[in-house]
Symmetry: C2
Subunit: 313 residues, 2 copies
Amino acid sequence: MKSDTVYKRTYNQMLDLIQDHAVGAPLPSETVLASEMGASRTTIRKVLNELCGAALLRFEDRSRIVLSHDCRDLYHPTVETVSASDRLEKLFMEWMLRGDAKPGTAINEAEMARRFDISTTGIREFLNRFSRFGLVERRPGSGWVFKGFSENFASELFEIREMFELRSAIAFCRQPRDAPCWNKLRQIEQEHHALLADIETRFHDFSDLDDRFHRLVIHGAPNRFIEDFYDIITFVFHYHYQWNKKSEKQRNRTAIVEHLRYIEALLSGDEAAVDAACRAHLKSARLTLFQSMINETPAGGMQGNGASVATPN
Amino acid sequence: MKSDTVYKRTYNQMLDLIQDHAVGAPLPSETVLASEMGASRTTIRKVLNELCGAALLRFEDRSRIVLSHDCRDLYHPTVETVSASDRLEKLFMEWMLRGDAKPGTAINEAEMARRFDISTTGIREFLNRFSRFGLVERRPGSGWVFKGFSENFASELFEIREMFELRSAIAFCRQPRDAPCWNKLRQIEQEHHALLADIETRFHDFSDLDDRFHRLVIHGAPNRFIEDFYDIITFVFHYHYQWNKKSEKQRNRTAIVEHLRYIEALLSGDEAAVDAACRAHLKSARLTLFQSMINETPAGGMQGNGASVATPN
DNA sequence: CAAATGTCTATTATCCATAAAAAACAAGTA
DNA sequence: TACTTGTTTTTTATGGATAATAGACATTTG
């Protein structure tokens, strides 16, 4: 049976929204709510009905009126808000980054299903989707092999990344000067300056900006395989640095500065400069990742990390 | 319920084997049969028991004796021999190559399940696995978009292929002269000569050789993402040329000659020559693919031709 | 009639069941 | 001891069921 995570998430969002409205004020229409909350009208209506029942809203004159703000303890727990597949992804990555699985380990669906308490069908779907990340591989006969989040992995990843990004950066430069990308680039440059100015407090915002910047560059000469590959990068960084928060601020500051040089080079159109700036940035990103893999592997209960994380196979 | 395609395939193989043995001769042991036929002992035993029942074999003194060769009409139909997922893959590719689906078409699982008469679970698994080929893409909300086997696709594919192969070819050259790859390369070179000499009759054997050659080159400096990507190449060529048999012999002859130059360059260790030979080959491969897409693609109205004619086995 | 809500239908996420196939274990024989 | 076959347990492929969600169509109302 499908889980009702969408409902619960929407419900929580609705509670937020209610508290943003004065008592007595009407909520937007169902259609508007649906598009704002990223759910279907069906779900919105279910939530609204529920909240009418809870006497937080009144349905009057074709609109929902806020009756009260008293809903602190109505929130659904956040866990119940994420879909089974997202939950599995997270559990799996934690399991992996924690170093529980040594590279080369065979994993089978049934066992995983037990370990993560998710149906075998769910596991299988996950593994199929996940295999593109190069961390697990389907064995010809049956079962899966776990490849390990190792230095090898990171190094293969970066090799491709460098090829792709260098190619894309040069292609980006060659776009006509009136293409919309240039404005977008300038805008992103501004955002970098803004973030740098505020780095003390906003350093967490970097990863989003980072992503947008690189994707803009890459998109200059679109290639589905390159864009797909960038999903892997995003994914890996997302999880890795969620487990490795050490010196995050410093790391991000450095990256911003590098980005700014890189952007400047792009804007200048000087291909040699672009190449140099791009290489410099990637080299530094690679180094940072490697160092954080070796030295800073997650603190929280990391038994045996050295063996599995740092060991190439 | 799992289908018994493995059983039926093994059964057919066993019939072949029986006919290879004189009446009165004993078959190999279960274990040997299992490993030779690529099935588990469980399946082998099931087949053997069945054939004992059919009086084709007698179990005597710990071994199976061939009783008769009279089994022409015992064979299971070939269709029942391929697993649901393989069948789906084939159906889907036919549907796609036939041009029934225009790029940009949204496809949904339920509809596909109906069209191909396979459970939604099966469809979903297929699409998940298949999405790495870049021909369908999951839509954030729901459903899938069909990207089309278009020139765009081919051109994006080749862009990456060129990057990867050039890099790998150079890396291959730089391997120590006593690495085992050099012998393998010489062996493959021999196979090319042999095939060229026999091209009139054996031209079908080229695609296998082609695959092994490129994979050898690529494996010189292993990178899981590059090797994964080569799966896509293999897949695309497999299906595309199954639908486009025109001038296959000539096409393969040309490729062999190009390969031989390429191999010679590799053996010489002259990186500039390698680069040139590799580029020349890829350029020609790309051209051939494009021409066959433009001129010979079984266009819209060709249903009937493709489905059965172009499909061997 | 345009936008809102109400109602019905289609699609998806998710788990479960089951026979086939694989793997593990046990025992016999040469 | 090294194979063989016999038996039991585990895992996988594949279809099916169902509630949640999305989407389409119908109806109301200002």
